[in-house]
Symmetry: C2
Amino acid sequence: MREETDLVAPPRGPEHDADPIETPGFVEAVAGAIERRDVATLKTIVADLHETDLARLLEALPAPDRPAMIELLGADFDFTALTELDETVRLQILEELPRQTVVEGMRDLESDDAVYILEDLDDAEKQAILADLPIPERAALQRSLDYPEESAGRRMQTEFIALPPFWTVGQALDYIGETEGLPDVFFEVFVVDPSYRLDGSVPLDRLLRTKRGVKLGEVVTPDRHVVKATDDQENVARVFERYNLISAPVVDEGGRLVGVLTIDDIVDVIQEEADEDLKALGGVAGDEELSDSFWYIAKSRFSWLLLNLIAANIASFVISLFEDELHRMVALAVLMPIVASQGGNAGTQTMTVAVRALATRELRPSNARRVVARELLVGLFNGVVFAVIMAVVVFARFGIADLGFVIGLAMIINLVAAALGGILIPLLLDRLKVDPAVSSGPFVTTVTDVVGFFAFLGIASLWF
Amino acid sequence: MREETDLVAPPRGPEHDADPIETPGFVEAVAGAIERRDVATLKTIVADLHETDLARLLEALPAPDRPAMIELLGADFDFTALTELDETVRLQILEELPRQTVVEGMRDLESDDAVYILEDLDDAEKQAILADLPIPERAALQRSLDYPEESAGRRMQTEFIALPPFWTVGQALDYIGETEGLPDVFFEVFVVDPSYRLDGSVPLDRLLRTKRGVKLGEVVTPDRHVVKATDDQENVARVFERYNLISAPVVDEGGRLVGVLTIDDIVDVIQEEADEDLKALGGVAGDEELSDSFWYIAKSRFSWLLLNLIAANIASFVISLFEDELHRMVALAVLMPIVASQGGNAGTQTMTVAVRALATRELRPSNARRVVARELLVGLFNGVVFAVIMAVVVFARFGIADLGFVIGLAMIINLVAAALGGILIPLLLDRLKVDPAVSSGPFVTTVTDVVGFFAFLGIASLWF
């Protein structure tokens, strides 16, 4: 297999599989160019890279090379790339770059990208950068930053095309064709009254298919899904997803158009939220990133493990209530983890489904009862099946028929408890406005451990 | 708080929070109308519903009412709603509807929606429906269905605008304005040669901002991200996400344009894939849906639990090797689950991060070594901290200093094993082309259970 790799110009063209960043030697070649301060080579490389790949290149470079590369590139570095970086890396770069470079770079950004970069900086730094920006840009950014974190107002783009209803389609088309400084990409024109209150929108393709003499007011359709700037981004993402939206207007409390949200921003939110839920269920902080430092990760994982240690000690305390039985019959000690572990896994299954369905708003008051009943039945059914299996295994292993009966009964009790805990705990936490993805796990396994040990050892102590 | 609820016309307007389906009494009112065969009322309701809400209404109705409603509505029922249904519900409806109704409904669909509905039907049913469709539509659907499941060819829309490079922008605009039967929504025109080989595309907004006399060939830009029809939908979704694409052309092996993929289809894929990973990590089948029957769920959960039961029995076997020690010192039985459980949770943390990073392609050969080293360090660090905590707790509880030392040592060993298992098992499975999200769990917990019990009881047997 012969493969020639041109280290400077990464492979281009329709094969999107060809990934410049993963090409052996590519990152090293860039690092070398930075070291030699070889601006010409750097510019050639960067000209060929998509902003996302530029971000991935920055992440792959040694930390000191990152700001160095940006400074060497000057105006050829597209600051949009910063929005694609892991937060840790972005903050490191912004800290080390001279403020003037940051301000220059920010000026070329769309408002949503600028806000995304600014919002994680500390207040002093944020204000210093804003102060260096021209007044109109500063005002627009400040307005977005005044909305709460993770709100639609933070994610929206404040560049959009808004026209009055008495304009004709022809006027609109000419305006779009001739005006400089319109947004880079747009999917519709919005129709607003003189105070910028939103009438609705006309998608670009409809604009093109309507006769030039028709007034916008006649072809405008009211947007069914108008986003309030204060809406939480997760709720907005659900609406985009549910109704397959490409973009949606954002209005302030007065119903005035203040921005537009597009699906590409929302995709990031959907991805982020799914990511957070998945990590939370695994006991990892939602913002943990692959580029985080050892120390940050160790600390963030620690708190979850500490919670689990407390849960495990509670379970251990339950076991210690039966020391006499364990001493009389060591087989109980050998078998008890099976009951607890089977319950833990069944509980996790139910909890996973419940947490996910709550996150996607599929689990709602109207169907909660049916889902609880079904989970209970599944727990009972699987409990009985595993009871029979374990009864046979235990009898075969220890030759004590009664022990098989005891473990079977404990298994049924624990799998029913697991089903109930797995669904009721997330539902309860959700009702209490606590994120069930983050908090359900330790409660559910505490329930299944405690019930598992208590049922098995308790029944054994009564029986033998 | 007075609230008047009009059961027939659900609340509309900018408040997207108002959810007709969850309005108390709404579903019952619809069911009543179906029972009375009150077509007029049904039509009024449906006219106001988005296809997604129509699907949610169908899911909320009792099963027999679903096909009944569709038949009553006739041509007023938008078959697009079927694409928004849970698979189980969709198949139930398609089975019970007369074939003629299905064929009529399918004719109005975009190709990607039609394929989505057809692909889950059994072959005989699929062919019967295709046979009843007009030849051009049948051929287009058949071509999509010939691509592998979960490929770009299955998800693409075969309706698009493709023009030759010698056309002017003005000609293109006039063509769009005057031609009937163009796609409902489109974001660009594609430029192709006479054999439909793709030159590139011109986004609508650029078309509008270019002088009418300019030739398309002069403003076309080659698409950097061209999708092959045989590409896996998950890989395509990563590309859309990574490069913030709104749409991408789909080509066949010969580089000929055969369709277009848009972000709204891809959002569903992203959501599906995140969903599958999350469920897989929780031990639930990726296709489990909230509307699935008790029996289906019980069976699908069973196999995972059976795997776990085997793992638990292996761990139990390890414990039985130390029956003498357990008999001599019941405290060992009381404490051993703590070591195992702490390891299981630490292993799950690492595994969650690894599985997610593999799914999003963030974890790659170029950074794997660094991540493994970091996880190992985190395991060692947290192991030492928890060793100290447990040593103190155990000494306080049992008054045996040696026992504290033994549990501490076992804790360190198990947390290091957890870190290694949590990262190396997903990496290995990925290398073997097995989905790490589905298969890592049982392996990782087997490792932490076995190492936990063996280390703790083994060290104890040497020590005491």
